[in-house]
Amino acid sequence: MKVTAQPSADTLTLLLDGELDASSAIVLDTELAKPDILNFHKVLIDCAKLSYISSAGLGVFISHLQRFQDANVKLVFFNMQEKVFNVFEILGLDALMTIVPSATEAEAA
């Protein structure tokens, strides 16, 4: 699992590459836990290369959800593979988080 951060003026894009499970969840958590991240208006998660997400991986996003909301930082997922989207959907997270098809919609969100 590789996490690449691409900051721009008011948006931070995180590219996830690989499987997000209990062992790699720490890498992502470190990235999301950075205090500076709340200075951005939007945090976009590019899931194009995210091939798998376990409950520990979902837990990372869940644990930061409230913090992002409180700081008025919008969390947007895009380019999600169907298999990964299913995991979000089964847990009911699709109703709670913004998941859009592509980068264009993510930037507009």
Binding site: Y52, S55, A56, V60, I62, Q66, I90, L91, G92, L96
Partner: protein, 477 residues
């Protein structure tokens, strides 16, 4: 020498023989002096010293085998060291204990008051003397030691070095100046390395005992958890239930349970705590407790149907109960079904749990229920209630309900990244719906095992099969 004596005895006067013998002894004495220098000791003394060393060493070795405490090993080391080099006093400083298991060992003294050791220790630190092994035979002449009120003139210092850790520092003292020799250091080093070996062995034993204890405790936890899983499945003539559960580790986070409610109703719950192992097992037990306490009859209820919470209400209450004890990154998925035989229907709520697989006998169709519902512990306030819905469904005899956790559909096989999947599970039910609940379950498990062959189970697996029977309910009195 015997030959020489013999020759002397045969061909020379008696005194020559004696002279030669004396010369021989003189050479021997010189040799002995050269071999055991300095100080020049007699053969007996050297032998006795060597014997003491060997005995002390044997003593140390025996300590290991008897598996005594590190404190005793240090004491034996100190005593053996003092005895071997005939020191007048000694002390052994021990490093703060680097393991959690045993209480730290205190400094040990021989013929020395702790205050005296303090005084020397302070001076040794102050005057930058070497930190490792060294000998000083004129302590009173060293800079900083001039005013030392103590009588000791010779000092030998030797660290107790292990592979990764220095266990302590040995100090030996003699009143006489110039009495320690470098050979003393090498002899004592044999002792200290033996002692360190003993200490490290004791630690190994301790660690392995601790591991063994952890294993034992996990075994108990596993037994306790096993007792939380219902062994006697509910039976009645209107349904047939079969269950399977397997934890990936000693303890797991999957759970299911049943409860008969009055009026020919049955509550069935299934759940999956995120994560594995002991933490998940604790929450699993907690969830079982929540199920049994919330599914109590409410005597204040105005009508029969309100006596027990409907599934969505149950989930909202469970969510509130879990807010304070579930770690931020943990959540629980669960589905609760209340099956009502009198009405021939059931109501359920899905809190982020896997979709229910269903065989509809009249339509001869297998499908997944598509319903919305958020997992527990994700939203930690009252607004959770908006995210959970009840779904009502009428069943017919012959219908089959398959309830499971993601350990089943996410089980890996094939190339190692392939998942068993909902589609394959659906196909198996299409092929087996006409069988008894037990046979349907076994049919699915056999296929699952064939799929995952050669791959370790990485998540807990639970599978429940409920088949509705055509039996008529006996008329209620």
């Amino acid at each position: 020498m015997v030959n020489l004596l013999g020759l002397g005895g045969a061909g020379a006067p008696q005194w020559i023989t004696w002279l030669m013998l004396a010369a021989d002894l003189g050479v021997l004495g010189l040799l002995a002096a050269l071999l055991f220098r300095p100080p020049a000791v007699s053969i007996e003394k050297a032998t006795s010293l060597r014997r003491t060393e060997i005995q002390s060493l044997q003593h140390l070795v025996q300590i290991i085998q008897r598996g005594q405490t590190s404190g005793e090993v240090y004491r034996i080391l100190l005593e053996s060291a003092v005895q071997t080099v005939q020191a007048d006093a000694a002390w052994l400083d021990l490093a703060p204990d680097h393991t959690e298991a045993e209480t730290p060992n205190a400094t040990q003294y021989v013929n020395l008051a702790p205050g005296q050791a303090d005084e020397l220790r302070k001076l040794l630190n102050l005057h930058n003397l070497p930190e490792g092994e060294f000998i000083t035979n004129d302590l009173n002449l060293r800079a900083g030691f001039e005013g030392l009120p103590q009588k000791f003139r010779s000092l030998l210092q030797l660290p107790l070095r292990g592979m990764h850790f220095t266990y302590g520092m040995l100090h030996l003292l003699k009143v006489e100046p110039h009495t320690f020799v470098t050979e003393d250091l090498s002899v004592l080093q044999t002792f200290t390395s033996q002692a360190v070996l003993s200490i490290e062995n004791l630690e190994l034993v301790r660690t392995s005992l601790a591991n063994q204890r952890t294993q034992e405790e996990l075994k108990i936890a596993s037994q306790v958890q096993d007792s939380l899983i219902p062994k006697n499945l509910p039976t009645d003539n209107w349904f047939d239930i079969s269950s399977h559960s397997l934890a990936a580790k000693e303890v797991g986070g999957d759970f299911y349970d049943f409860l008969h409610l009055p009026g020919r109703r049955l509550a069935v719950i299934i759940g999956d705590v995120s994560g594995k192992g002991v933490t998940a097992a604790f929450h699993m037990a907690q969830m079982k407790g929540i199920f049994h306490s919330l599914m109590q009859e409410n005597p204040l209820a105005k009508n029969e149907r309100d006596k027990f919470p409907v599934p969505s209400k149950f989930m909202a209450q469970a969510n509130t109960a879990l807010i304070h004890c579930l770690e931020k990154s943990s959540f629980i998925t669960s589905s609760l079904y209340i099956i009502d035989y009198e009405q021939g229907g059931f109501v359920f709520a899905r809190a982020g749990h896997c979709h229910t697989l269903y065989y509809h006998a009249l339509r001869e169709e297998v499908f997944y229920f598509e319903s919305q519902g958020l997992g527990l512990g994700i939203i930690r306030n009252e607004s959770y209630e908006k995210h959970i819905k009840n779904q009502f469904y009428d069943y017919s005899p012959g219908d089959v309900m398959v309830i499971y956790t993601d350990g089943i559909v996410e089980a890996r096989g094939g190339t190692g990244t392939d998942e068993y999947g909902e589609d394959r599970l659906k196909l198996r039910l299409e092929e087996s719906y006409f069988q008894e609940a037990d046979d349907i379950k076994n049919f699915i498990l056999e296929d699952l095992n064939a799929f995952t062959q050669g791959f370790p189970i990485h998540d807990d697996q639970t599978l429940l099969v409920i088949k509705f029977k055509s039996a008529q309910p006996p008329p209620l009195a």
